[in-house]
Amino acid sequence: MGKRENWLAAWFVAPNAIGFAAFTLLPVAAALLLSLFQWDIFHEPRFVGLGNFRNLLGWVNDDGEWRAGDPRFWQFLGNTFYFMLAIPLTMAASLVLAVVLNQKLPGRVFFRTIFFLPSICMGVGVLLLWKFMYMPDIGMINRALRSLGIEGPDWLSSYHWAKPAIMNVGIWASMGGTNMILYLAGLQGIPPEQYEAAEIDGANRWQQFWNVTIPMLTPTTFFILITSIIYGFQGEFDSAYVMTQGGPDGSTTTLAYYIYSHAFEYFNMGYAAAIAVAMFVLILIVTLINWHFFGSKVHYV
């Protein structure tokens, strides 16, 4: 390599690096610090050490019976995991769509575009639309069910149905989106010789799918899984805010929503930061576990 260009490089990197340091690195460090304080942003912050974490994660002995210090946290953590059950469903749907689209059928680009539309349109507008469609009396979905002789529930106000209803919107919006495009790219990267070899060995289409397609797509699957889990932990704020306000009775409140409520509704800045730090650690652990178990199995082309 030639001579170093330190000063020159600094000019190129600085605009991004300064902003990045100020608005990402500094806040991450501050979050760790803030989680050790009790602060309502109006008065002086008070140092409480690990007190926030003790309240958040600790268990207290209440007349001989152990109960969680913050039962809401565990409920909302459970909700967050529940919502993440949509990840494998979405991935499987994306893979099926990609496999069907990967055939040399006329009109495939047209279908690909149509499938992609929900993921483009997703946002507050589409969430309002689904809220309308889920209305118990006048909503599209219950009208359709009624014509089949089924009386649908009040989807978004039902403790049991609100979560699946929100997950359904997420699956609809993302199955034809980025995941499908990544799988399509992955499928196109599989050399045809692999299938020819399998066919010579007498593998039928189904066996080819399991023994060639799936292993060859492992890097794509791994990438989608890791990113989906990282987003999943932080997920479902927008849908819960627009469609259910986290209810009924907290059944659609996720960790992200809980952090928001503590920070901006109850003004517990320190406690909210502690939840965020706990979430960060959880994401790190799960990502490391993923690497450990799947990283070695990744089939690099």
Partner: protein
């Protein structure tokens, strides 16, 4: 013969499947558009009618967009989205050029640091960021909406990957002709990277246009709301007037659709570049 029949059967099943999925994807969006053109109250609630019965109520759009706060929110969204898109592409491409093409102290370690922070969940930084902006007096201003989201590690990563694939011979020739490094960035690398730049710009545009949590946190007056935040407020104003709400939703969705349709090719390539791990 039977193989041929199986072939056709598979094609027919594929098309039936694709059509069913396509209808599932499109139907809600069509329903949004149809509802937005219905007369408020009675007609919108009559679900036997998929399409508006009497005439198309384009005045729903006039009524919704005629609200001063709606027009203002649309304007805010436009300013914020365009500024972030421009700023993010500019700062990311400069940094990506240095990481891909310049030789400097600690370059690769520094870049790994960038990559590592891409894993930090955005939610973690939200609260300290809010406090920082409050100290700076930026809450409820354009600065709060525009500046923090403008600096992206992802953009640097994606453009660096693209710049690395470009042949070095081009810039060597330019260096001999006396072209500066900035000249190489401006006159050679950028013009040859139109695809990647367009992809990043489109991804950023769509992501920013619909972003909700950040504007919700840093704005609190009607004058500063972006369109998604304003729409959630209309839920309270219009209540069950679904045609108005759906008209507002269509106005929110259309700019993203336009950008997607214009740049579909770049957009789809961009997703793939971003996923190729370096």
């Amino acid at each position: 013969m039977s193989r041929n029949a199986g072939h056709w059967l598979r094609i027919i099943i594929s098309y039936v499947f694709l059509t069913l999925v396509g209808v599932t994807m499109l139907f809600p969006l069509v329903w949004m558009l149809a509802t937005s053109l219905k007369a408020p109250a009675a007609e919108a609630l009559d679900l036997k009618q998929l399409l508006p019965t009497e005439k198309l109520r384009w005045d729903n759009y006039a009524i919704v967009t005629g609200e001063t706060s709606f027009a203002r929110a649309f304007f805010n969204s436009a300013i914020v989205t365009l500024s972030i898109t421009f700023g993010l592409v500019a700062t990311s491409s400069l940094a990506a050029f240095a990481f891909a093409r310049l030789n400097f102290f600690g370059r690769d370690k520094f870049f790994m640091g960038y990559l590592a922070t891409m894993m930090v969940p955005g939610v973690v930084t939200l609260i300290p960021l809010f406090i920082l902006l409050r100290k700076l007096g930026w809450i409820d201003t354009y600065a709060a909406l525009i500046i923090p989201p403008m600096f992206s590690a992802y953009g640097v990563f994606m453009l660096r990957q693209f710049f690395l694939t470009m042949p070095r011979e081009l810039e060597e020739a330019a260096t001999i002709d006396g072209c500066s490094k900035f000249g190489i960035y401006w006159r050679i690398i950028l013009p040859l990277s139109k695809t990647a730049i367009a992809a990043l710009a489109i991804l950023t545009f769509i992501g920013t246009w619909r972003s909700f949590m950040w504007p919700l946190m840093v704005t609190y007056t009607n004058e500063m709301f972006t369109l998604p935040v304003a729409l959630t407020r209309y839920q309270e104003t219009y209540g069950v007037q679904w045609p108005y709400l759906m008209a507002g939703s269509v106005v929110l969705v259309v700019p993203m659709l336009v950008v997607f349709v214009l740049g579909q090719r770049f957009f789809i390539e961009g997703i793939q570049v971003g996923a190729v791990k370096g």
